[in-house]
């Protein structure tokens, strides 16, 4: 396997852009990533595109305005993990020697779907009796609170931290800090969650250029190396299941730590899939940043905030930066590249050398989640 680095990264501000065509959401990120890498479009040998709601040929549609079709384009759908899945496949294609320079795009335009709760998985019997994604996560929260004594006020601190970080990120959908009182008093979505315990829906695109190790010296940017990229799917369980443990993330984390020889203690900065406030806490535990049941203590200690031991979601996370589903994995990776290059501005995790991105989701009855992609980067 060859070494692979990310040499270009770009994204637009996540938000709601109903007036923008899907393709016009996508091409600026692609162009930005190629220019950031100091390359021209002719250098890109293949494109991997992740999108969950973009429909057919999402990659080709975003590439067409740039005259960049004519190379293999692989479109990946894996719910929230679509962009991260595309990245993993691109990394592997270079590592295996198939290509030298590949572009990864994550893109989704959720404003196409109208507002409110996302449509459920078709033919899913839990959805057919009223399960929604916020309700699923709020059941995790309710059980977690019951078993570990977490309070709604403590849960709300996750959202306050996310918004504090997002306020420092010009690419975030929400750039306004919120108080604990505002989180507690927000309109109810699915109890115990109010609106500010849930990520917004939005539109976004993010792109990176990956390069084989041998050619990295020709690049103008500081390379960020891919230590490993893990992808797995949820196991089907028909009986009782502990929904306070993120089974798929725990298993994926174990796999990638084993594969890379990097331990949770080595991770300097992380972007985790905080689609809902409880998720961030569950993922601290599943990723090994703390023991089971101790996530809120880790957050309250300040360890996961800007300036802490292991800053998590410096971008604001899904709660503040936004969650254009299929774009999210790529957007997390763009943020991580900026963090590890030392280009993250006011939200920089000082001296970060090892970064982890974690992207999981997709509601499907009987599985913890549909997919989980974890990537580790190092300088």
């Amino acid at each position: 396997m060859r070494k692979v680095a990310v040499i270009g990264a770009a994204m637009g501000r996540i938000g709601r852009y109903p007036e923008l065509m899907f393709q016009d959401l996508g091409w600026p990120a692609i162009k930005g990533a190629i220019e950031d890498a100091g390359l021209e479009r002719k250098h890109i040998e293949a494109v991997y595109c992740g999108s969950a709601y973009g429909g057919r040929l999402a990659g080709q549609r975003a590439l067409r305005p740039l005259g960049m079709t004519g190379v293999p384009v692989v479109n990946c759908e894996n719910a929230c993990s679509s962009g991260a899945t595309a990245f993993r496949e691109a990394w592997y294609a270079i590592a295996a020697g198939r290509y030298d320079r590949v572009l990864v795009l994550g893109i989704d335009k959720l404003s196409m779907l109208g507002g409110g709760v996302l449509p459920g998985q078709p033919e899913d019997w839990e959805v057919d009796v009223g399960l929604t994604m916020p309700a699923l996560y709020s059941m995790r929260a309710k059980r977690y609170m019951h078993e570990f004594g977490l309070t709604r006020e403590q849960l709300s601190k996750v959202s306050v931290k996310a918004r504090r970080h997002g306020a420092l990120n010009p690419y975030a959908q929400y750039q306004k800090p919120v108080t604990l009182e505002e989180v507690m008093a927000a309109r109810l979505v699915a109890e115990p969650f109010g609106l500010l315990h849930c990520c917004p829906t939005g539109d976004g695109a993010a792109a990176v250029v990956l390069c084989a190790g041998e050619l990295v010296a020709q690049s103008t940017t500081k390379p960020v190396w891919v230590a490993g990229a893990d992808l797995t799917s949820g196991r089907f369980v028909t009986g009782y299941r502990d929904i306070t443990t993120a089974e798929i993330t725990e298993r994926g984390a174990h796999e990638i730590y084993e594969e890379t020889g990097i331990s949770p203690q080595d991770v300097d900065v992380a972007e985790v899939h905080d689609a809902f406030a409880i998720a961030e806490l569950m993922y601290y535990e599943a990723l090994g940043f703390c023991k089971k049941g101790e996530a809120i203590q880790l957050l309250e200690s300040g360890a996961t905030s800007v300036g802490g031991r292991i800053p998590v979601n410096m971008s604001g996370g899904l709660l503040s930066k936004g969650h254009p589903v299929g774009a999210t994995g790529a957007a997390q990776i763009v943020e991580m590249i900026w963090q590890l290059r030392g280009q993250a501005g006011a939200r920089q995790a000082e001296g970060a050398k090892v970064g982890l991105t974690h992207c999981t989701g997709g509601g499907i009855a009987g599985l913890d989640h549909g997919a989980c992609a974890i990537t580790i980067f190092k300088t």
């Binding site: 019997w125 009223g130 309710k142 109810l188 109890e191 009782y240």
Partner: protein, 140 residues
């Protein structure tokens, strides 16, 4: 057991039967080869790949594992409503609407029992029925 007269109006057709005393039973599958109990009844056992799946009337009682009161519902769903995970006494977990006093929500791990009720309505007003669970009123 008799199948319901109007299956078309059930959210999950074929999952509700009524016993001789007209009490509802939730129907799952029992794998003839490995004994796995699954709801809804599958065409193939995910464990042993046997396609021999028998009808199984599931336990009518279980423990309330977790629930949420949904305020932001999908279009056409009356809200708020409560949705729960119920761990049936025979080892099967069921996602089900919970019939409870939403102003005084129940605590977790209480015993709940199966009922059948209205889930929502079609656009023409026809009610859509489904399995539901409600807290068991224990004699004190």
């Amino acid at each position: 057991m008799n199948a319901s007269a109007s299956e078309a109006n059930y959210a999950l057709p074929g999952t509700i039967s009524f016993d001789e005393a007209h009490r509802p039973r939730l129907m799952g599958g029992l794998c003839a080869q490995c004994g796995a109990k699954v709801f809804p009844k599958p065409k193939i056992c995910s464990g042993c790949w046997s396609t021999e799946q028998q009808d199984l009337a599931l336990a009518t009682r279980g423990k309330l594992y977790s629930f949420s009161i949904v305020h932001a519902a999908r279009k056409g769903w009356p809200s708020p409503y409560a949705i729960a995970y119920v761990d049936l006494d025979d080892g099967v977990r069921i996602c089900a609407p919970l019939e409870a006093d939403l102003a005084h929500p129940p605590t977790l791990d209480i015993t709940v029992e199966l009922i059948v009720g209205t889930l929502r309505a079609h656009a023409d007003g026809t009610p859509v029925l489904s399995h539901r669970f409600k807290p068991v009123q224990e004699a004190r």
